[in-house]
């Protein structure tokens, strides 16, 4: 797990959570997903990526919004709109702990 040091120019309005994103193993997909998170108004604090037995990747990202409250469900839909993103969903702390 990597702890990221991010620009703190903008403060969070308090919307935060962990997303589980399933990605196909296709060049560019990871950066496309992470870029979408930033461009849609979030900062990511933790990023954890593991390959599954079927070859896809599980990407766990802990994020918080910057510059105004945002809707995490909308972000999930925006991520799912990307080609080679199989799914994106919010996961609860317990679920995340189980996975860890």
């Amino acid at each position: 797990m990597t702890q990221l040091q991010r620009d703190r120019t903008f403060t969070s309005s308090g919307v935060s959570g962990t997303l589980k994103i399933v990605l196909h193993d296709v060049s560019g997909t990871l950066i496309r997903a992470l870029g979408t998170i930033e461009r849609r108004g979030y900062d990511y604090r933790d990023v954890h990526c593991t390959q599954r037995v079927d070859g896809d990747f599980d990407l766990l990202v802990h994020i918080e919004d910057v510059g105004g409250p945002r809707n995490l469900d909308t972000l999930c839909r925006q991520l799912e709109r990307l080609y080679n993103v199989v799914s994106a969903e919010k996961v609860g702390r317990r679920k995340r702990a189980e996975r860890a």
Binding site: S27, G28, I31, R32, G35, N71, D73, T74, Y83, V86
Partner: protein, 573 residues
């Protein structure tokens, strides 16, 4: 998928033939197999292998004079025809000149496949001559993108690129093609599975019945429609729904033409430069049925004051737009066309509301004569546009640039099909109008194509006059010249205490003579009594023609909702 395909046999042969072919050959054959017949492009070093093969294909190549012109012509072509546009450029500056066009296509959901040359694979990442990471640069503004690393991938990649560009909510797709991949010869054809993510559009019957209940319960229902009606091929279904329900309609800039301007239930464009009848209706409605629109800030004004008493039904093909800015009480995702056709709530019980809306529409109807009498004695642009659009053939297409003239076109020109109006709505790209008109006319050669521009915008892609001449494309240009960056000047006048800063363009060239220098007919009009003859001359011309219209720099666009304010706070002259 709206791209007409060549025969299945041709498509299959692309994937199954084992002739040794270069990447460039495979690219162009695969593009042709998608039914593409026209490409807008500009050659250069890294894409030379493609241009080496191009003359041996059946593709018609339109050589524009700037890559931005190529990209915007491809957008105009796509928007006029409903087919996917195609544009080529080389690496480095050729590719970066595409960026504005790609962003424009992204924000207005236009299907275009952009192909860029790239430096050879072994030089990528070395800061080679004309190397730029166009894949990385365009990540935020493409629907999807590829770097081709193996020529054997190209048939599948191209097929998927055209599919993705056109399916669902359309958008731009980029293929970046390194020179060595374009040159490499292969007998292989890698299999690409059809993309598994695309699901057949479904209509949720429970949501339909819920929406029908909400419509039946409403006393002040209102349709708020956008570009998704036309792009989702739902115009007829929407018109049928309006007839079935009798519900009044307001439209965004991109939705214009989805209902004819003179339809009895149509109240006009809403938003920053919307009509009063439309904005008042939004503020007072109790049910907002949003179809193919996305609560853009230019349409909504201050969002939390927008339709404050309304419940919301949101109909959109893109699930990511639902609840993005305004929470929907109920949504219908999937095919907009099918959802609109499935809605059968019966006649809405809103007679008083309908009458109020109609009365307001009459009350706030434009009075061109009074408005013209109230302004300076020169040519009054809104009336000129009104007169023009009523003289043009019914099937005419009007493109425009960005600024005051863009809003005047939206307010005063007549549209009865969304494909008749091609404007840069999302990105607001100055310089869009001329190349978009070029592409529209090439794609829809049987239709009259007019572009309305301003003196600021026109200079941004003026080089495409040479393309009009080269291919003898009879686009009709109306250039409204107020010797200023008019919309910026208006905002400085209204919101910046008349502190006019860098908006004066009174050293413009003689535009009629500029057109003549490009071997295009050009003339100027300066007085009201020249307008009628000027329009007649414009419309009668057989070749490309430019009518330069001198207008008053002090004329502004009204009404105007100040930024950050409610749509109820419309300013007037």
């Amino acid at each position: 998928m709206n791209q007409p395909l060549s025969t299945i046999t041709e498509l299959e042969s692309i994937h199954t033939d084992r002739e040794p072919k270069s990447g460039a050959q495979l690219l162009l054959e695969s593009i042709e197999a998608q039914g593409v017949d026209t490409v807008f492009g500009y050659p250069g070093g890294a894409i030379m292998p493609v241009y080496d093969v191009l003359p041996r294909t059946g593709l018609r190549h339109i050589l524009c004079r700037h890559e931005q012109g190529c990209g915007m012509a491809a957008i105009g072509y796509a928007r006029a025809t409903g087919r996917t546009g195609t544009a080529f450029a080389t690496s480095g500056p050729g590719a970066t000149n595409f960026v504005t066009a790609i962003a424009d296509a992204f924000l207005d959901s236009v299907p275009v496949v952009f192909v860029t040359g790239q430096v050879p694979t072994d030089l990528m990442g070395t800061d080679a001559f004309q190397e730029v990471d166009i894949f990385g640069i365009t990540l935020p503004i493409v629907k999807h993108s590829y770097i081709a690393r193996d020529p054997a991938d190209l048939p599948g990649m191209v097929e998927e690129a055209y599919f993705i560009a056109a399916e669902g909510r359309p958008g731009p797709v980029l293929i970046d093609l390194p020179k060595d991949v374009a040159n490499a010869v292969t007998t292989d054809r890698h299999k690409w599975r059809p993309y598994p993510k695309i699901k057949p559009a479904t209509v949720r019957s429970s949501h339909i019945s819920g929406a029908e209940s909400m419509i039946r319960a409403a006393r002040k229902p209102l349709f708020y429609i956008g570009g998704g009606i036309g792009q989702g091929d739902g115009v007829q279904e929407f018109r049928d729904l309006v007839e079935r329900t009798g519900i009044p309609v307001v439209s965004t800039l991109k939705g214009l033409g989805s209902l004819p301007n003179d339809h009895p239930h149509y109240l006009g464009m809403l938003g920053m430069h919307g009509l009063k009848a439309a904005n008042y209706a939004v503020q007072e409605c109790d049910l907002l049925i949003v179809a193919g629109a996305r609560f853009d800030d230019r349409a909504t004004g201050k969002l939390d004051t927008f339709a404050p008493d309304a419940r919301v039904i949101h109909v959109d093909v893109d699930r990511a737009e639902i609840n993005k800015l305004r929470k929907a009480d109920l949504y219908l995702d999937g095919s907009l066309k099918k959802n609109l056709a499935a809605l059968t709530p019966g006649r809405a019980d809103c007679g008083d509301w309908r009458e109020l809306c109609h009365a307001r529409r009459t009350q706030y109807e434009w009075d061109y004569q009074s408005a013209q009498d109230a302004v300076a004695p020169g040519i009054y642009a809104p009336k000129l546009l009104y007169d023009l659009s009523r003289k043009v053939p019914e099937s005419a297409i009007i493109t425009c640039d960005v600024g005051q003239h863009q809003m005047w076109v939206a307010q005063h020109c007549y549209f009865d099909d969304p494909r008749d109006h091609i404007t840069s709505g999302g990105l607001g790209t100055m310089g869009f109008g001329l190349p978009a008109a070029l592409g529209a006319k090439i794609g829809a050669s049987h239709r009259t194509v007019i572009t309305v521009s301003g003196d600021g915008s026109f200079m941004m892609n003026i080089q495409e006059l040479a393309t009009l001449f080269r291919y003898d494309v009879p686009v009709k240009i109306v250039l409204l010249d107020n010797s200023a960056l008019g919309m910026v000047r208006q905002w400085q006048e209204v919101f910046f205490d008349k502190n006019f800063s860098e908006v004066n363009l009174d050293d413009n060239p003689d535009f009629a003579r500029v057109a003549q220098a490009f071997q295009i007919e050009g003339f100027s009009i300066r007085t009201r009594d020249e307008v009628e003859a000027g329009i007649d001359r414009l419309l009668a011309a057989e070749g490309p023609i430019l009518m330069h219209v001198k207008i008053d720099p002090n004329e502004n666009v009204w009404p105007l909702v100040p930024p950050g304010r409610s749509n109820a706070d419309m300013m007037e002259r």
